[in-house]
């Protein structure tokens, strides 16, 4: 087996050194009746070519985004990833290292985490950010729990603008911890009354901007209302590229910002792994979940980095930890950070403008189709379309014509018949003019 360097003679010599008669002898603590006496119903080892052949056969039937006109979003966005990102994250010293518990030989990881934390703080307009969470949805649940710890209040108010998976994950994660989750109905046009729902029990209000349905809003008034009631404002950002164009959540008064970082550097990968971004105000840092890299000096007085404030974490604090998280999304954070560094200030802002321009162009084109309406007046790179018929069959029909048109809202909200005709459509810098032509023509034809 190509991954196993011990030879039969090595094994013999090692057993002799141990004083064991066989490897089976080393397993003598396993109760005899629990030992597996027969072969498992699995194939034996296979060479690289054979494995590649078998897995390629599973990859081949999938319709890849790059091979068709593609307009899906709903929390996962397809952006061009510069070639340098993947080349650099595959360096073995990054790929095959562990969590940087030995800082003297992990300065590479620690320094990029420190840079990543700074980038995340800058784009979200917050003071501090952690070294990443699993994904946006789990980061959202952690943010809600953190707000409850800070305010010592039980109620979490989830806006109808919030991604349905973020809502579901938050409600699931907090179901046994004495919290109350208030979920507002899905809100495709941005008319819900959040301010009227904030009360003395409210720990936090969680809103998404751009909304799950694409709409944008200024959150300053909501932030003020939260402050007045002693609640925290948690802002979710499912498309971080939007932060290159829009006012940051921090500037609008957010107390905690969580985001899905997948858009930058990570890629689609059928939705996982993702990258949870988590940022907050400095005064809350000791209530924050997750790892933190911090700056210090070494014995020679040289600048260096370590994992710090770990007394919040499970390996020190056990059942009193701020979270149970251990493994997070280090390599995805690196990919995000490299992509962000390649973009820089100019590139990041320009990328955001290109995305918005693409969506604006696409919306204008689709709006021209009879009986099709664009729901939001103001959006970033994604918007909700109201079709004259159920969206899901339209999407299937277009997929049969090799167009991946968007995501029907009914996939998340089958119990809301008023959303049956709603289709989420996103356009990033990867959408070409001819892609847009194909979608507009295909949709017009299917709706005929």
């Amino acid at each position: 087996m190509r991954y196993l360097p011990l030879t039969e003679s090595d094994r013999g010599a090692m057993l002799a050194a141990i004083g064991a008669s066989s490897v089976d002898d080393l397993f003598r603590d396993v109760p005899a009746e629990a030992r597996l006496a027969r072969a498992l119903d699995l194939p034996n080892h296979a060479g690289e070519m054979e494995v590649e052949r078998r897995l390629s056969a599973l990859a081949a039937p999938n319709m890849t985004a790059g091979s068709v006109p593609f307009f899906l979003g709903a929390g996962v966005y397809r952006h061009h990833i510069p070639a340098a990102v993947d080349a650099l994250i595959q360096r073995g010293e990054f790929l095959t290292s562990y969590t940087p518990y030995q800082p003297e030989v992990s300065q590479g990881t620690l320094q990029y985490l420190f840079e990543f934390q700074t980038q995340v703080a800058l784009i979200t307009g917050m003071e501090v950010a952690n070294a990443s969470m699993y994904d946006g949805a789990t980061a959202c649940a952690e943010a809600a729990a953190m707000a409850c710890r800070i305010t010592r209040r039980p109620e979490v108010l989830l806006s109808g603008s919030l991604h349905p998976h973020y809502r579901a994950v938050t409600a699931t994660a907090l179901q046994h911890t004495g919290h109350r989750i208030e979920e507002l109905a899905p809100d495709p046009v941005g008319i819900e009354d959040l301010m009227g729902r904030i009360g003395g029990d409210t720990a936090c209000v969680v809103v998404q901007n751009p909304s799950f349905f694409g709409g944008l809003r200024d959150l300053a008034a909501l932030a003020a209302a939260c402050r007045a009631e002693g609640a925290l404002l948690v802002v979710a950002v499912a498309e971080p590229v939007s932060l290159g164009l829009l006012k940051s959540p921090g500037a609008m008064g957010a107390d905690i910002v969580i985001a899905e970082g997948q858009s930058l550097g990570v890629g689609l990968s059928f939705g996982g792994p993702g990258l949870g971004l988590f940022a907050t105000r400095e005064k809350y840092v000791r209530q924050m979940p997750g790892r933190l890299a911090g700056q210090t000096v070494d014995a020679d007085g040289r600048r260096g980095w370590v994992l710090t404030l770990s007394t919040r974490e499970q390996h020190i604090r056990r059942e009193k930890a701020t979270s149970n998280i251990c493994t997070n999304s280090g390599l995805c954070a690196l990919a995000f950070s490299i992509h962000m560094t390649l973009l820089g200030e100019q590139g990041f802002r320009r990328l955001a403008r290109i995305n918005h321009a693409a969506a604006a162009k696409l919306a204008a084109r689709l709006r021209a189709i009879p009986r099709v309406r664009v729901l939001a007046r103001r959006f970033f790179n994604e918007f909700a379309l109201l079709l004259p018929t159920a969206a899901a069959p339209v999407v299937e029909e277009l997929a049969a014509r090799r167009i991946l048109a968007g995501v029907p809202a009914s996939r998340f909200y089958p119990d809301f018949p008023e959303l049956a005709d709603v289709l989420l459509v996103a356009a990033t810098e990867t959408a070409t003019e001819s892609d847009m032509d194909a979608l507009a023509a295909g949709l017009a034809e299917v709706l005929k």
Binding site: F27, V76, E104, Q107, F114, A251, N328, G330, D415
Partner: protein, 506 residues
């Protein structure tokens, strides 16, 4: 110490932060400018600069390459970090995860366009169920601790369905910190079970703590002392007799893959760390994956999404109102993760499992255990193993051998760095004093193991012959010497700030 301009020492290069290399006018991308599209966004637009640095691609590539050179990784050094299973990461797995048919598909494409991806999840699930002997699996947990939460939540859901309000979870004192943290996140009180003199669960103490308020007993097996719990069948029977569930923490599954199925040990649930046992890379701290196998009693509560077979092929069940759930009587506990789990990690794990096959997986766990016992035997003359062998995949040593040397476990670990080895896990588990937990894995050659033994013995002999205090200065040759963690925690500096502008002359 350095004596060289800018602190460089040959290939060990000092590298400033990206923020200190800002070169306005440069860019690492070529994107066209667009104008005028944001007319409708009045009042919503960002004002003022963000503060990100601008660098051209060559500077970016050099920056991250230099950072990488400051890291130890499995690719370059022996990395015997106990409990972390730092084994070789095959590059075939990386190539497979990057096939466009896996990497360039969106989670919300129509299911008809992703049948191969759903088949991959299903096939990965089949291997994991077969290797554990368990009938069901929740694929979506993102990491080991997330799998723990998943398992405990299924237990809670099953107990709620029975109308039993059990509120206590028992955890051995040697457990990973995630166990009690996950139990607390699931709303349980945590109660610790002591170890016996043999480094295993004290069965009598466990039985004394079991009662009608106990929901589950969580046990890592092989345990965190690297020992197989030889009374595990009695443990499982006692836990079940008390009406509680038996949670197996799969962190150390690497020792027994292909040789023991946890179903045959009486487990009700176990999470599997794909980034340990199945070698999807650790990546400096993730992403991992923690699929969680479940017994028949817990299977109905598995979180969404589920992959099921129906007339049209494979299908995702993503919503609690999906009719397929009613048909089977399943009652998912909710959703633990966005989308469909760590798909890219599943691809890597399946490539690993297919490459090894049933025979290779058995050989791998055998070699992992053989290597750990070899280290235990070779080191036992100079160091002090905490328990007599055989051990499983990792060897536990405590610091009795350092008595009166003036050196500590930490010093031994740091001295290894200067010799080109990553340290072992230190000070864990907590049940022995000054623990050194050494996990070699199956992917190291005998020559590497011998070199490690010789080096570690040499360091220990130096410590015993009066050089103990000098070891406190190690490491000398790493990119950094020991870092001041106390100041880092007292005055946290968690991000870069631009230097304050020079004060005007007064």
């Amino acid at each position: 110490m350095t004596g060289y301009r800018d602190g460089h020492r040959g290939i060990l290069l000092e590298e400033p932060l990206i923020f200190e290399q800002d070169s306005p006018g440069c860019s690492g991308v070529d994107l066209p400018e667009v104008e005028g599209a944001e007319d409708t966004l009045d009042g919503l637009l960002r004002e003022g600069p963000i503060g990100l640095p601008d660098l051209a691609e060559p500077s970016v590539v050099r920056h991250y390459t230099r950072l990488s050179q400051k890291n130890f990784g499995i690719d370059s050094v022996f990395y015997p970090l106990g409990s972390c299973t730092m084994k070789h990461n095959p590059r075939l797995n990386e190539r497979m995860a990057r096939l466009p048919g896996f990497a360039d598909i969106h989670p919300f494409q129509p299911e008809t366009t992703v049948q191969g991806a759903l088949a991959l999840i299903d096939e990965c699930a089949r291997w994991l169920k077969t290797l554990t002997g368990m009938p069901a699996i929740a694929m979506s947990p993102a990491a080991g601790a997330h799998g723990e939460l998943c398992g405990l939540m299924t237990i809670r859901a099953a107990l709620d369905a029975r109308g039993e309000a059990r509120r206590r979870v028992l955890v051995p004192e040697s457990a990973h910190g995630t166990n009690p943290a996950s139990a607390a996140a699931c709303g349980y009180m945590v109660d610790s079970v002591p170890a016996n003199a043999r480094g295993r669960v004290d069965l009598a103490a466990l039985k004394a703590k079991l009662g009608p308020d106990v929901a589950a007993f969580m046990l890592t097996n092989p345990n965190t002392c690297g020992l197989f719990e030889d009374e595990i069948l009695e443990i499982a029977a006692a836990v079940h007799a008390a009406g509680a569930f038996f949670y197996c923490d799969g962190a150390n599954f690497n020792a027994i893959v292909g040789r023991v199925r946890i179903a045959d040990l009486g487990a009700d649930v176990m999470h599997i760390n794909l980034h340990k046992t199945f070698s999807t890379p650790h990546g400096g701290g993730g992403p991992g994956a923690g699929p969680t196998v479940l017994s028949h009693a817990l299977a109905p509560y598995a979180p969404l999404p589920l992959v099921i077979h129906d007339a049209g092929g494979l299908r995702l069940v993503e919503h609690p109102l999906d009719p397929a759930l009613r048909a089977t009587g399943a009652a998912p506990l909710g959703r633990l993760k966005g989308y469909h789990g760590q798909f890219g990690t599943f691809v890597r794990a399946l490539a690993y499992m297919m490459s090894h096959g049933a025979d290779g997986l058995l050989q791998a766990s055998s070699d992992a255990v053989l290597a750990a016992n070899y280290l235990l035997a070779e080191l036992s003359g100079d160091l002090t193993p905490s328990y007599p062998g055989p051990c499983m995949h990792e060897a536990l040593i405590d610091d009795r051998f350092l008595k009166d040397t003036g050196a500590t476990t930490l010093d031994i670990a740091k001295a290894l760095i200067d010799e080109g080895f990553h340290p072992m896990t230190m000070y864990f588990p907590l049940v022995v004093h000054g623990a050194l937990l050494i996990e070699p894995t199956e992917t190291e050659s005998k020559a590497t193991l011998d070199a490690f033994v010789a080096t570690l013995r040499d360091i220990v002999r130096r410590a015993k012959s009066g050089e103990g205090p000098a070891l406190r200065e190690a490491p000398h040759l790493a990119p950094r010497r020991r870092l001041d963690e106390t100041t880092a925690a007292r005055q946290p500096q968690l991000r870069w700030f631009p230097p304050a502008p020079a004060k005007a002359a007064e």
